[in-house]
């Protein structure tokens, strides 16, 4: 009676053996990072939408005045409302491009993380987003410094620029992490393929 279940008694088929080697664990960790960061990149797109639309709506009189100044007398017959809607339309076009790019990057990262599709186009797109993000961050830091040094700065504008800087930096760090994880995943997959071919 005092014995392990014997081989004869164990008639269930043996379930697949799991590979928990250090390489495989690193692969899973990188894949998990891709899924989380990919989701984050899509979600951060909402911040960009909020920021841009908010800026356009809240500063519309300023923008309209600047457009009228730039255009001179040729825009005298055009109403403020029309200029605002055109401005909004251009902003939406710009945002759509940004959102589509983020969706491509985010969904591709998630797909790669879940071992479905293994694309590579999202990596150069991510590099592009990082460069644009850095440019945006530098601009936001510049605006922040300007508002801090100005004696008559608008209430809340310092906070807005500070928040922008923090969110931009977070977004850039996420994208860099995504690139590292994606490279690691591709490297391990290549290694696994080589091992299979050798065997």
């Amino acid at each position: 009676m005092n014995s392990m279940i014997t081989e004869n008694a164990h008639r269930f088929p043996q379930v697949p053996v799991i590979d928990n080697s250090p390489d495989h664990i690193k692969l899973r960790k990188s894949q998990n990072t891709l899924v989380i960061v990919g989701t984050g990149i899509i979600v951060f797109g909402f911040w960009t939408v909020l920021k841009t639309l908010g800026k356009v709506y809240l500063n519309r009189s300023e923008y309209i005045a600047q457009i009228r100044e730039f255009a001179g007398t040729s825009m005298m017959e055009v109403s403020d409302n029309l200029i605002f809607w055109v401005l909004l339309f251009l902003a939406v076009c710009y945002l759509s491009l940004g959102i589509v790019t983020r969706l491509i990057i985010g969904l591709s990262a998630i797909s790669e993380g879940r071992d479905r599709r293994h694309g590579f186009i999202y990596l150069p797109l991510t590099v592009l987003m990082i460069l644009l993000g850095l440019h945006d961050t530098v601009y936001s830091i510049d605006m922040f410094i300007n508002t801090v040094t100005e004696t008559e700065a608008e209430a809340g504008s310092t906070d807005f620029h500070m928040a922008s800087v923090i969110i931009q930096l977070t977004s850039i760090i996420m994208m860099i992490q995504m690139i590292f994880s994606a490279v690691r995943v591709k490297k391990y997959r290549r290694k696994k393929r080589k091992k299979k071919e050798e065997n």
Binding site: N2, A9, K29
Partner: protein, 387 residues
């Protein structure tokens, strides 16, 4: 585990271990009753609330998750449903707070299982039934902890069911949904689980809630990445585990029947079970949400007597009809004492290991405290045994 295993399978195990039909029914009732003995039930019958061995969904919804509330929840779930595998487990580079929870992860063949089975020795059939519930649950609930913890009990999208396919297996990603009204669908691989809550101590993160009811199905084979696993994957083979649970229950019950034979871990009564192994395997691998009918038919074929349907009415009636001084001698009374003893023992072991997640444990016998009213019953019983 569910009623099919806790009640009918325990009856079968008890009968194979040499208990009579009537004794096996009492053991089986006690084993299943661990899943029904809530504070609501005890309040209704006038029993001690500290003897609760489970918490209903509504009770959990009302439960506090402050320190005292968490300790109360952990005491119940770790003592009866998620017996810790190793209270002195070590782990590199983690905080004390994390380590305390890590040490509560349920696993099979632990030292606490020996203590649980031996605690039931000489304490009657009700105590034996309670010990069998705890034993069986260690197999179904391994890798989950009986304390609300996201970092231990969480699961993610990496959850695949392993389904037999001809000679081999195929894998299917499980789709968990949060509709408690919808039945689990093994055909399409759609199961209910608890809602994701990022709060570490949310009730949703208690036990195997994040995997829903899936770990309790005997046909389930799955691979997943538990939150504590550091990106390691684990395979759960329930048909094999449940078979081990059955064999171990037969062995444990035989030990309790035999004087001087101490229960040991990793021992299974495979010779005793062998004549019925085919039937048991067929029941375990059948893809059905509950196997009550199959186990009931097997039980009837074993003993030749029909096994009564599970009910707590007779327990309630007997307990409430008895005078106060004789209540401890009813079936429910003896179960209550066994539950108090088990909870006391496990809480004491957890506390002695330096873990405060189950609260502080005081050895009332040594320190001479009167203690809380509920536990006086336990001390009275222990004094009676000593005399």
């Amino acid at each position: 585990m569910q009623l099919d295993f806790h009640y009918y399978a325990t009856y079968c195990a008890a009968f194979i271990a040499g208990y009579s039909h009537e004794e096996s029914v009492i053991i089986a009732h006690s084993a299943q009753f661990v899943d029904d003995c809530s504070r609501t039930f005890l309040n209704r019958v006038g029993g001690p609330l500290s003897a609760a061995t489970t918490q209903l969904q509504l009770e959990l919804m009302d439960a506090n998750t402050d320190l005292v509330g968490l300790q109360d929840i952990t005491r119940i779930w770790a003592s009866f449903h998620f017996l810790p595998g190793d209270l002195y487990a070590t782990r590199k580079k983690c905080s004390k707070r994390y380590l305390r929870k890590y040490r509560l992860i349920c696993n099979v063949n632990s030292d606490l299982l020996i203590d649980t089975v031996e605690l039931a020795r000489g304490k009657g059939l009700e105590a034996a039934g309670l010990a069998m519930h705890v034993l069986a649950d260690t197999w179904a609930h391994r890798y989950f902890a009986g304390t609300p913890s996201l970092v231990i009990n969480n699961t993610n999208y990496d959850f695949y069911e392993i389904i037999p396919d001809g000679e081999g297996f195929k894998e299917r990603n499980i789709r968990f949904n949060h509709n408690p009204a919808a039945k689990d669908d093994p055909v399409n691989g759609s199961y209910t689980n608890s809602l994701f809550q990022s709060n570490e101590n949310s009730i949703m993160n208690l036990g195997h809630g994040r995997a829903g009811h899936f770990p309790d199905y005997s046909f389930a084979r799955y691979r997943y990445m538990p939150a504590w696993g550091e990106y390691r994957e684990f395979v759960k083979d329930n048909p094999s585990d449940y078979k081990h649970a059955f064999g171990q229950m037969v062995y444990a019950l035989k030990c309790l029947k035999t004087e001087g034979q101490r229960f040991q871990t990793d021992c299974y009564a495979d010779e005793e079970v062998l004549p019925w192994i085919d039937t048991i395997e067929q029941i375990l691998i059948k893809r059905q949400l509950d196997a009550n009918d199959d186990w009931k038919a097997f039980a009837a074929s074993l003993s030749g007597c029909p096994v009564p349907d599970y009910s707590t009415d007779h327990l309630q009636e007997e307990y409430m009809a008895a005078d106060q001084e004789y209540r401890d001698h009813t079936i429910l009374g003896r179960f209550i004492i066994a539950a108090l003893a088990q909870k006391s023992m496990i809480t004491n072991r957890i506390f002695s290991s330096g873990n405060l997640l189950a609260g502080i444990s005081v050895d009332y016998n040594k320190r001479g405290f009167k203690g809380i009213r509920d536990y006086r019953k336990l001390m009275k019983e222990q004094r009676r045994e000593d005399e």
